[in-house]
């Protein structure tokens, strides 16, 4: 039995959703509503004491780190292999995942956090302290403190912006070497990247377009047209649907009849 506890098909939350749809593996999807902070609720913390999403449970084995769990799922289930056999290409795949996890996703997430921060009500320090007290990971506690206090530093945001732009160049460069990020074939590197940057053509149209980044646009078209990708995005509860629809419109990718 395979169960996935997670939020939307977006960033870390979406990694196992996109990957399992790509492999055609059946699983039970338990929706964790991050807007209601269900991932910090005592019941969820019993399953995953770190209070992060996703959590994947396979025959009693609990997997809480998203990228490592993808490698596990690729080995444990049939369906198309999503890791290159060649050790060097496998290293390339892991290097991309490492870059995305350590470097790129935090920059994008900071923008998301800053946006959410603006919508937060004014609260006293004590109220904020009380709210973040239940978050298990010290680093996550610190981030939520900044969001709730509306104190996401401008300088850090500017640095994230710089990194996002620099990363677009890296994507374009890698895709001149091979059709996919790790090599000739679609792999976990593309899955981790796609679920993170899928909306770029609509969110950063001045930087990501056919004139400036033709190879990246071509990669977006190939990825967005995959039945597995479209099936995974269909799982969402509406949070990201507009962004996906807008991006497909820009890319001229039609909706497939997939489940």
């Amino acid at each position: 039995m395979l169960e996935v506890y997670t939020w939307e098909p977006n960033a870390n939350s979406g990694k196992p959703l996109l990957m399992l749809k790509e492999k055609g593996v059946d699983f039970k999807y338990h929706y964790v509503d991050m807007g209601k902070r269900e991932h910090h609720a005592p019941e969820y913390l019993k399953l995953n004491p770190s209070g992060t999403v996703p959590t994947v449970v396979h025959d009693g084995l609990v997997l809480t780190e998203s990228s490592p769990s993808l490698e596990y799922l690729d080995a444990a289930f049939d369906g198309p292999a999503l890791r290159p056999e060649d050790p060097y290409l496998l290293w390339r795949m892991r290097k991309w995942i490492r870059f995305l996890d350590f470097h790129y996703c935090p920059s994008l997430a900071m923008f998301g956090g800053a946006g959410a921060s603006k919508r937060m009500p004014e609260q006293s320090e004590e109220e904020i302290e009380k709210q973040v007290a239940g978050i298990p990971m010290p680093e996550r506690r610190w981030v939520w403190g900044l969001i709730l206090a509306k104190k996401v530093p401008e300088a850090a945001l500017a640095e994230s912006d710089r990194r996002i732009t620099a990363g677009i160049e890296l994507f374009e460069k890698a895709l001149t070497e091979y059709p996919y990020l790790a090599g000739p074939d679609y792999s976990l590197a593309d899955i981790v990247a796609m679920i993170t940057v899928y909306g770029m053509p609509s969110m950063r149209p001045d930087e990501v377009n056919d004139r400036k980044t033709p190879r990246l646009m071509d990669w977006f078209r190939r990825c967005h047209a995959r039945p597995g990708t479209q099936a995974a995005f269909k799982l969402g509860h509406g949070w990201i649907a507009d962004r996906v629809a807008e991006t497909r419109k820009i890319l001229c990718i039609r909706d497939l009849d997939v489940a």
Binding site: D101, W142, V143
Partner: protein
């Protein structure tokens, strides 16, 4: 041809050295003297523009990143595998090698640098370091600029300590159920943690010690009895390399 660019048997450089010794793989050692800032010289930056060790060069292919380098070595030289056969144990390896690089190594570097290394630096060395980082990518420059300041914010030190306390708790938890980090046999996960644990003994002695964390303590002693680990420790050119720190990977910028 296999070449490893590395520093002392310590954080980040020591792990691939142990793995190569465990697997009895011959390689050419290229010592990069971090204390002389050789990692920022053009000759090294041509190989790794980030100016960080370790770097493996295998038949002209450049392999960087400590955790993924360990996996590459084990994948490309399948004899005497250090990746467990069981898939659940494999997940533990994937988990630990990522955790080391993302959480443990940055926190150790930060605490170790400010406790042991930064206070000993003479003004001339600081000036030289400031100049030497100019050719690094902006994010590495930022790490160095921060590290070369006179002091570090208490909040940052506190966050690093909390992060390591959590890591040590995870180590204790894992070792409660099995003799090694990824199940019944010694694996890449243990290798990735040897020098981290040795350094933690110095940077958070109040959190990690024989009394407070007996399982972790015993596991580290067991690791330090291995021949490959001793062979690597014998390569040290400086006294107590476990007490010398360079500005490491940056701490998580957004949780």
């Amino acid at each position: 041809m296999l070449e490893l660019y590395h520093w002392e048997p310590a954080l980040n450089s020591g792990e691939p050295l142990i793995l190569l010794k465990e697997k009895c793989i011959p390689f050419r050692s290229r010592y990069v003297d971090l204390l002389k800032l050789k990692q920022h010289e053009p000759k090294f930056l041509d190989i790794n523009p980030d100016g960080q060790v370790p770097v493996l060069v295998h038949d002209k292919k450049v392999v960087t990143g400590m955790s993924i380098m360990l996996q590459y070595i084990d994948d490309v030289f399948p004899k005497k595998p250090l990746m467990p056969a069981d898939l659940g144990d494999q997940y533990q390896v994937f988990f630990w090698v990522k955790y080391v690089e993302e959480r443990i190594a940055p926190a150790i570097s930060l605490l170790g640098w400010h406790r042991f290394t930064r206070p000993t630096l003479k003004p001339a060395v600081i000036a030289k370091a400031r100049k030497s980082v100019r050719k690094l990518p902006p994010e590495r420059q930022a790490v160095w600029k921060q590290a070369l300041k006179d002091s570090c914010a208490d909040a940052e030190i506190g966050l690093a300590r909390d992060s390591l306390a959590l890591a040590v708790g995870k180590l204790q938890g894992a070792l409660k159920h099995s003799p090694w980090l990824a199940g019944q046999s010694y694996s890449l996960a243990d290798i990735a943690l040897v020098f981290m644990a040795r350094a933690m003994r110095n940077v958070i002695p109040d959190i990690m010690n024989a009394k407070a964390t007996p399982k972790t303590w015993a596991w580290l002693k067991k690791l330090e009895r291995r021949k490959a680990v001793n062979d690597v420790l014998a390569l040290a050119r400086t006294a107590e390399p476990d007490k010398i720190f360079a500005p490491g990977p940056e701490m998580a910028r957004w949780g």
